[in-house]
Amino acid sequence: MTNENKEKQGKLRWGELITVWLVLTILTVTGSLTIIPHLMPRAASSTMHLNILTVVVFSVTAAPVGSFVYAIAAYGLRNWRAGSGDEPPADGPPLRGNNVVTIVWIVVSTFLCVFLLVWGLAALSSDSSAAANSTFKVDVTGQQWLWTFHYPGTSVTTESLYLPEGKTVTFEVTSLDVVHGFWIEQMGVKIDANPGEVTTISVTPDKLGTFDVRCTEFCGLYHAFMTTQVHVVTPTKYHAWLQAQQA
């Protein structure tokens, strides 16, 4: 190894390392803020808004952590490479560990963990408080490979779902045969339909339009095509629709 190389390896250029870290962080943060909301379905409920926000927040939090590791790897590839020949380079410095670094690393990752946990618990409780206010129920039944919706208190049973905008609905979900997964893609609602059990989940649709129901637990031959629509309409239209169905 030449003297110049030794010199290069001996000194750490903190400026370069930190610059790489910052550039990578900025790139990943920008990517998280722009690409993720663009890719995810347009939100049709506050639950979904929160889900998208959570994915973005996690990405922004993770960006400096991942970038830190990448920066060191990239810096190492650039500055610590010492050949790829038949003979190994001279031994590196015998660093067997560093208590300060280890403790800082563990404290920081614990802190990040606690932040993510608090965020998740807060999101959970805001979801369940919405559910507590709900009096409007719809029975959802999965079977191979069909969804049916029954509106309690009426004789109405349909294969696509109608919901009034702005009213919290609680789905009581069950299955006639195998496990299905009831998912309204744009509302962040997902709960399994289990045979012999009733599971519940609540959501407040806040956008008019047509949205997608998919099955998210593999349920056999035509699982991929066990889809239907949710029509979110104004409360007036909803009541008119319900009347018409009963007539």
Partner: protein
């Protein structure tokens, strides 16, 4: 074969010694296959005529008993029960028999036999792992072909569903053994300074149980496939055709294999270390393998139990998983994920151990925070068994437990982070020798960060409410299983290839394979993250038209990966035969495996090593091994 007593202590007359030896020495893979097919036929006919009132050749009972017959017949035919049969007759194997079992002077034919030499078992595992992974990889290509278009028009639904179910179980089984099987067996005992595993015959048993398990698992294709995904959620799996019975027998056999192997590895780790090989001096790779085996011993039996109950539901009319009979599908889900999540760490830790080992050699530096990493791995082991219900956030099983399981799952990122710290700490200011194994290690760093961090997203209940059951999950665990574990396994193979075969894997072509694999993984799975974020469920043959582009990109990336794997396979075959010859310690490493001659002789060491320091003394003036001459070995 371990040497525990001198020859004089064997109280057998020559006549007795040969009595057990005659038949035993004629057994090999062919007699195993013969025995397996024979007893399978017996099972088939017996159950068909005696047990099955419906008269169908293809009922659940007939299939189950047929494959149990295969298992028993195969093991009998290969000679797995020779020891017990001899004991039952009041005899033990003679020294000659033991040496024969260890494959002494048998050349290549020992690879086709019930051989107790841990190095033979390691090579057998290596070949078997590659067979399983390539079968799974071919299925992955068929899945990607179907997903090129949104309509689900290439294969019929049943065939396609079978593809991803079989892809899943084969890949999981293959990856569980991918590092532990070949290198846990070949390398780990040498690293400990042992002459073989603690229980060499159990070692052979664990491998041949894996071959036995491969029988029914591969037969699933021939008898109609499985339409349940590899997680085989009941009650769907109770509805399924007879392929499910074969899979259940295969899985139970496979778990018998991992359990036998796990017990053996832990016993070897504890009892077979050479003089001076204290736990603090032990390299990190054996730690990874041992902790992985310990997690497996806890986790895998849940899957076997679940599968046995499933077989009862399918063949005996019980209702463990059926709501109408008082059962619950949540029972299956709990049993399955009690295996399913710890299993991820069973797969991960040996690979991590190998990657850290390689990093020290090619950064020419001691392992950063040796004890901290061991602590991290132990922390992972304990946490891994209390996180399973994060797979069940959206099942409705126990909503009140979602918070606690979110906590435990997020906590596991702390010990995992410690391992990352050790990896980059080892590279820190190293003199990086950029040989082929190190190239793969850098690939692992890149992929593991992406795979690990997206795992933390999924631990969060609100995110999981959107992402559960979508391609986002699939992309996440492929970044871990392919991008980290398979890359780690290939790094390990490239690193230990000179010890196993005496030859190098070609650096130039190896880099081509690396770049194809690396770019293939990024293209396939980054695009799959996008499809998942956009709402594509997993395990579907068709999808919304808007997702066509991302799927097309994933399919393209999949074929780039396939090209990479084919180059890698070609390289392994070619370099095994004609690669550049390597000396006994081509990487100038300090662990004991590199202090033996290549090819490694029977019983590994010419003189028993005595260890005076750990193997990470790079840049320090310690001698890691002092060799002594007072050995008590024989048979060489």
């Amino acid at each position: 074969m371990t040497i525990t007593s001198p020859p004089a202590a064997t109280p057998l007359t020559p006549g007795e010694a040969s009595a057990g030896g005659g038949l035993m020495r004629r057994l090999n893979l062919l007699t195993g296959l013969g025995g397996g097919v024979g007893l399978a036929l017996v099972g088939f006919l017996l159950t068909h005529f005696l047990l099955d009132s419906s008269g169908s050749y293809f009922s659940d009972r007939v299939t189950t008993l047929t494959f149990i017959g295969w298992d028993v017949g195969f093991l009998l035919g290969i000679g797995a029960f020779n020891g017990p049969i001899n004991w039952a007759r009041g005899r033990d194997l003679s020294d000659d028999d033991a040496l024969f079992l260890a494959g002494k002077d048998q050349g290549k034919s020992r690879y086709w036999r019930y051989c107790t030499d841990h190095k033979v078992v390691g090579v057998q595992y290596l070949i078997m792992t590659m067979v399983i992974l390539f079968a799974g990889g071919a299925l992955a290509m068929l899945i990607r072909l179907e997903l090129t278009t949104p309509n689900g028009d290439l294969f019929n639904a049943e065939t396609y569903n079978s593809f991803f179910g079989m892809h899943g179980i084969l890949m999981v089984a293959g990856l569980i053994v991918a590092v532990t099987g070949p290198f846990g067996n070949f390398i780990m005992p040498i690293m400990l300074g042992a002459r073989d595993m603690a229980f060499p015959r159990l070692n052979a048993l664990s491998f041949w149980l894996l071959v036995a398990a491969a029988g029914p698992l591969l037969a699933v294709f021939a008898i109609g496939g499985i339409s349940d995904g590899w997680s085989t959620y009941a009650p769907l799996s109770i509805q399924d055709h007879i392929g499910m019975d074969a899979m259940a027998v295969g899985v139970v056999t496979f778990i018998a294999s991992t359990t036998v192997a796990g017990v053996n590895i832990i016993a070897t780790f504890i009892t077979m270390r050479t003089k001076g090989m204290t736990l603090e001096r032990l390299p990190i790779f054996p730690w990874g393998v041992m902790i992985s085996s310990a997690i497996g011993l806890f986790a895998m039996p849940f899957f076997a139990a679940g599968m046995l109950l499933l077989l009862c539901d399918r063949t005996l009319g019980t209702t463990f998983y059926l709501a109408f009979g008082g059962g619950s599908d949540w029972l299956w889900e709990n049993l399955f994920w009690l295996m399913g999540h710890p299993e991820v760490y069973v797969i991960l830790l040996p690979g991590v151990g190998a990657v850290l080992e390689i990093a020290t050699v090619f950064a020419r530096k001691p392992l950063f925070g040796h004890k901290v990493v061991i602590g991290g791995m132990t922390g992972i082991a304990f946490l891994s068994v209390i996180v399973w219900a994060h797979h069940m956030f959206t099942t409705g099983w126990a909503p009140a437990l979602n918070g606690p399981f979110m906590l435990t799952t997020e906590l596991i990122s702390i010990p995992t982070g410690v391992i990352i710290l050790s990896l980059i700490g080892t590279l820190w200011r190293g003199h990086i020798w950029m040989r082929l194994p190190m190239v793969w290690v850098f690939g692992v760093i890149w992929n593991f960060i992406i795979g690990g961090i997206t795992g933390i997203y999924l631990s969060d209940v609100p995110v999981d409410n959107q992402m559960h059951g979508t391609m986002f999950v699939v992309a996440h665990f492929h970044y871990v299983l392919v991008g980290s574990v398979l890359f780690g396994a290939i790094a390990a193979l490239t690193f230990w290839f000179p010890k196993v075969t005496g030859r190098f894997i070609d650096e130039k072509m190896g880099r081509i394979a690396f770049w194809l694999m690396f770019l293939g993984v990024q293209i396939t799975f980054l695009s799959m993250f996008a499809a998942g974020l956009a709402g594509m469920p997993r395990r579907v043959a068709g999808y919304a038209k808007a997702l066509t582009d991302s799927n097309l990109i994933s399919t393209f990336g999949g074929f780039v990966m396939m090209a990479g794997m084919l180059v890698e396979l070609y390289l392994i075959v070619i370099c095994w035969r004609r690669g550049k010859p390597a000396g006994p310690n081509p990487w100038h490493a300090k662990t004991l495996d590199w202090q033996t001659p290549t090819p490694v002789p029977l019983e590994n060491f010419l003189v028993t090593p005595v260890v005076t320091s750990d193997p990470y003394g790079y840049g320090e003036s310690t001698t890691p091994v002092t060799e002594t001459t007072n050995t008590t070995k024989k048979g060489l």
